[in-house]
């Protein structure tokens, strides 16, 4: 039932609005709205009950194992939330003077420094609000760099076929053409194809390493040499940074620019789709172009640097300083982990992934790259099951929900058929992984004995499998008064 269905004219949470505000009689009548907006009219308790019950319809890290590949669904420490929510931090206006922000600025400056150390980059801007905005900023800096050198011929960005969809989309948003580079049979980038593709039109290449097929590209140094030799720059998509934290640094691999997803590697909450935070790090030559604002420290005071002091900056990505509250969470997390803890993240994310891959392989499942080490994630392909049993990766995914596990990422990357991209993260126990293997085995047995059962899954969730085609065809995107032809059943 929608909150709108619980609305009754005149009902209201009276404690929540000013008691007796003066009427705004000075507002010109012609500019006022003619009718009140059709917002729900409910009591405070109705709202609390409705949204509390809705929340219970979600899977989440706090309730389920969530091995969603490439998403790094690990524990979000509760302290990060409470400490970023201290009244002093929450109450601070974005345009308050630096004198009234030394506390938050100190945290942000230290976070910039830690991210530099972790990535091996020369400078960091915390401005981007999420990974895709970080990509945009990164590619925009590559563009600014070439333009500053008068190198206008570089109109192309290379992107491996395994890349996240945001990579080509971000490159296009920056005005580049995208050229796709195939992945070799062993999971590494096809070096020959890369050699063929680079040239004076190459502005740069966007890479994820470990890649989205779950392996570390062993030829990364050769790739860097090739692209750099052609005059291009290397962009590192930090989506998989969790796999290498404290082990190897993008800066050392030869990357010129990197974005990080703090909502992955630094465990800020995913929040049902956001917010994230996508800081960018750069090598020295790209430093002038970093997006604003940046935090500067002169040994005494911290202060924001904006457009006026950063004339070559690609500019501003949001009105204010970015997702500061999320950056504070990442800061708290980073300080709790510390030097030793960071290396352990990669250690145990990798251990869990390789253990789970080994168990699934010995249970008869097919790893997409069986001869490679898993990074923090790996791919199982259900091509054989699909062919022999007539059940596909989506059926497995939906049935896993009934077993109490969130499904892995399905049908991504696109180059592996019927794939499940599985990322257990370092915060899960061996028992949880063993339980997942047990469920996978049980589901395959069901697929043999009763394939229709899988096709009908899930059965135990608030809804059965949903009709996406209908959704896209009928486009019921907002409640309208009297539009309740589709209604919840009672009880």
């Amino acid at each position: 039932m929608l909150i709108h269905d619980q609305s009754r004219p005149g009902r209201r949470a009276t404690a929540q609005a000013p008691l007796n505000p003066p009427a705004p009689s000075d507002l010109p009548a012609g500019l006022r709205r003619r009718a009140r907006p059709n917002l729900p009219e409910v009591s405070e308790m109705q709202a609390v009950r409705h949204y509390t019950r809705l929340s219970q319809k979600n899977f989440s890290i706090d309730t389920q194992f969530y091995p969603l590949g490439s998403c790094t669904m690990k524990y979000n420490p509760r302290a990060c939330h409470s400490l970023a929510s201290l009244p002093g931090f929450l109450a601070r206006h974005p345009l308050a003077p630096d004198s009234h922000g030394q506390g938050v600025l100190a945290c942000l400056h230290e976070l910039q420094d830690m991210l530099k150390e972790i990535t091996g980059m020369h400078a960091v801007s915390l401005a981007p609000s999420a990974g895709a905005q970080g990509e945009f900023a990164g590619v925009a800096m590559i563009r600014a760099y070439h333009r500053a050198r008068g190198d206008h011929a570089r109109t192309e960005i290379l992107v491996p076929d395994a890349a996240h969809g945001t990579n080509p989309a971000s490159a296009v948003m920056c005005g580049f053409k995208v050229r796709e580079i195939p992945t070799g049979a062993d999971g590494d980038v096809d070096l020959a194809a890369l050699n063929d593709a680079v040239g004076p039109q190459t502005a740069g290449i966007m890479l994820t390493n470990p890649s989205t097929v779950g392996v570390f590209d062993r030829n990364i140094q050769a790739i860097a040499r090739t692209v750099h030799a052609a005059g291009g720059l290397l962009y590192y998509d930090g989506a998989n940074l969790n796999a290498i934290l404290g082990k190897v640094r993008p800066g050392d691999m030869g990357f010129d620019v990197i974005h990080m997803n703090l909502h992955k590697t630094f465990s800020t909450p995913h929040g049902g789709g956001g917010p994230g935070a996508g800081p960018v790090g750069v090598s020295q030559r790209l430093e002038p172009y970093l997006p604003v604002p940046l935090v500067d420290f002169d040994g005494d005071d911290y202060r924001w640097l904006a457009e006026d002091e950063r004339p070559d900056s690609i500019g501003r990505l949001t009105a204010f300083g970015g997702n500061t509250g999320i950056l504070l969470r990442a800061y708290v997390y980073a300080r709790m982990l510390g030097r030793e803890g960071m290396g352990r993240v990669a250690d145990f994310a990798t251990l869990n992934a390789n253990y789970l891959m080994a168990r699934l392989k010995s249970a008869g499942f097919t790893a997409a790259y069986p001869k490679r080490r898993a990074s923090h994630e790996f791919i199982v392909t259900l091509k054989r099951e699909s062919k022999e049993l007539g059940v596909n990766a989506m059926d497995f995914a939906k049935r896993l929900l009934d077993y109490g596990y969130h499904a892995p990422t399905t049908y991504f990357p696109l180059l592996v058929p019927e794939c499940l991209l599985i990322e257990p993260t370092e915060t899960e126990t061996k028992e949880e992984l063993d339980g997942f293997v047990k469920a996978m085995i049980a589901i395959r047995r069901e697929a043999v004995e009763d394939p229709e059962k899988l096709k009908g899954a899930p059965y135990t969730l608030p809804v059965r499998r949903l009709d996406d085609v209908r959704a896209a065809r009928l486009l019921d995107l907002a409640w309208k008064p009297g539009s309740n032809e589709v209604q919840d059943g009672q009880q």
Partner: protein, 466 residues
């Protein structure tokens, strides 16, 4: 090992299963010369109680001055229920609802948010959020250029009376795609963007879109109907930039002019999001039904399940980057879901009448504060038109200097207009939300009066030379 649950027994058993001797062996595909030792510059780990002490001290260091700055972020009351529910683990720690059946909570929230935003803006459809108001406007501009089938123009008319940070953000995001932003000034007496000015700057050119903001950055109410009709007459789409609290009282974009604005966007921060130094906030973006396939970002839709029971799912994903890659409507992936959850709960609790009361109280407080400040010699309204919720003032001394002195007394006196609008002289933009008390406003006025007096006196010995 914080947040790692592995025991020594676990590690031994897992390594044996994998068939390696040590965890380090799992990294043997990484070229040895790239491996690093330790992250020397990272400090040692801290216990929660120690980082808690540090963060309490730092939050305390930021103080809690009395805030009279608006300028795009507003200090509103947030019902205690909002974040107690939004921070529940099931909302807080869930991913994007790609597995719809396991995400009905988040998906229904998104659908309800979309419903509320369409009600507020008077438009047909809404997406499920963008990063903030400024980046939402950038996406609206890109969308309008794609969507406008009546012209091939890639030019967009931008009022100078739009938030300076919004103008800068839009420029940075859209110019790489060859879109030209043309700035239209405002009338210096009224503070309004007039049709005459638009006409003058536009000349005979075509525009893909015209941006209209209500109220504008100075708090001045624009003649939105006339601006909208002017734009439509020239085949330009109209992008409305609006404050959702103001929409409780002001005409919604869908009602502007003869046929309504085409796209509306803005900052959802006033709907339950703490100021928090600028984020996380959330941008909203609504449009007419005909443009839905150009609308970037996630959209939740209602559909049926295998049993014919209603449920919610992400829809129109074919526009998005994870499907359409380089041809997507935008690169946006992660949005501001948790903030949308807060905004939805906030709007459900306040309802239309509650929102109206908040808007009326803010408006009354700002007017009251302006009255008090205008009793100070040399302080006067900058413009002569009706305002809403923010007021621009002329000052008798350097704005930056006055603000610095006020800040030293723990009063954040407003936004210094003089930097972004040198043509206005020494000018200040103030805002007093419903949370500001009579006493706080009186305190501000008294302090400013004293500071202005000092400055004026200080001038005397120097000036009377003639």
């Amino acid at each position: 090992m914080p947040f790692v649950p592995h025991t020594d027994d676990d590690i031994a058993a897992m390594l044996a299963t994998i068939g390696v001797d040590a965890i380090d062996d799992l990294f043997d595909e990484i070229p040895a010369e790239l491996r690093i030792g330790e992250l020397a510059a990272i400090p040692a780990g801290m216990a929660e109680m120690d980082i808690a002490r540090l963060m309490h001290a730092r939050a305390h260091a930021d103080g809690q001055p009395v805030c009279f700055i608006g300028a795009g972020a507003y200090d509103h009351h947030i019902p205690a229920a909002v974040w107690q529910i939004a921070a529940r683990g099931e909302f807080y720690s869930a991913y994007t609802p790609y597995q719809a059946e396991a995400s009905q909570g988040t998906l229904q929230v998104l659908y309800e948010f979309q419903s509320m935003m369409t009600a507020l803006t008077g438009l047909d459809v809404s997406n499920a959020s963008l990063y903030d108001g400024a980046s939402a406007l950038a996406e609206a501009v890109l969308m309008a250029v794609r969507a406008n089938r009546k012209t091939n123009s890639t030019k967009v008319l931008v009022p100078r009376a739009l938030h300076p940070a919004y103008r800068r953000t839009v420029r940075g995001i859209v110019e790489a795609q060859g879109i030209a932003l043309v700035e239209a000034s405002f009338d210096h007496a009224s503070g309004q963007t007039t049709v005459e000015q638009l006409e003058a700057i536009a000349g005979g050119d075509e525009f893909a879109a015209v941006i209209v903001n209500q109220p504008n950055f100075f708090g001045v109410l624009e003649a939105v109907d006339a601006l909208t009709d002017w734009a439509h007459a020239r085949n330009a789409l109209v992008i409305a930039v609006v404050n959702p609290i103001a929409l409780a009282l002001l005409s919604p974009p869908g009602d502007w002019g003869c046929t309504g604005a085409d796209i509306a966007c803005g900052e959802a921060q006033p709907l339950g999001m703490p100021l928090s130094s600028g984020g996380p906030y959330a941008g909203f973006l609504c449009c007419k039904q005909e443009f839905v396939r150009q609308l970037p970002g996630r959209i939740a839709g209602r559909t049926l399940d295998l049993d014919g029971k209603p449920g919610f799912t992400l829809t129109l994903q074919a526009r998005e980057q994870h499907i359409r890659r380089g041809k997507a409507t935008s690169n946006i992936c992660t949005n501001q879901g948790l903030l949308v959850t807060a905004a939805t709960i906030h709007l459900a609790i306040l309802g239309a009448e509650g929102l109206e009361r908040v808007a009326a109280a803010c408006h009354a407080n700002t007017r009251r504060l302006a009255e008090m400040l205008c009793e100070i010699p040399g302080v006067a309204p900058l413009f002569d038109r009706p305002i809403f919720h923010e007021q621009a003032l002329r000052l008798p001394a350097t704005t930056a200097d006055l603000l610095r002195s006020l800040a030293a007394h723990n009063v954040l006196g407003g936004f210094d207009l003089s930097l972004d609008y040198p043509e206005l002289g020494q000018a200040l933009l103030i805002c007093a939300t419903e949370l500001r008390t009579e006493e706080e406003m009186r305190g501000y006025a008294n302090k400013l009066a004293r500071i202005v007096a000092t400055r004026t006196q200080a001038k005397c010995p120097v000036e009377p030379k003639f």
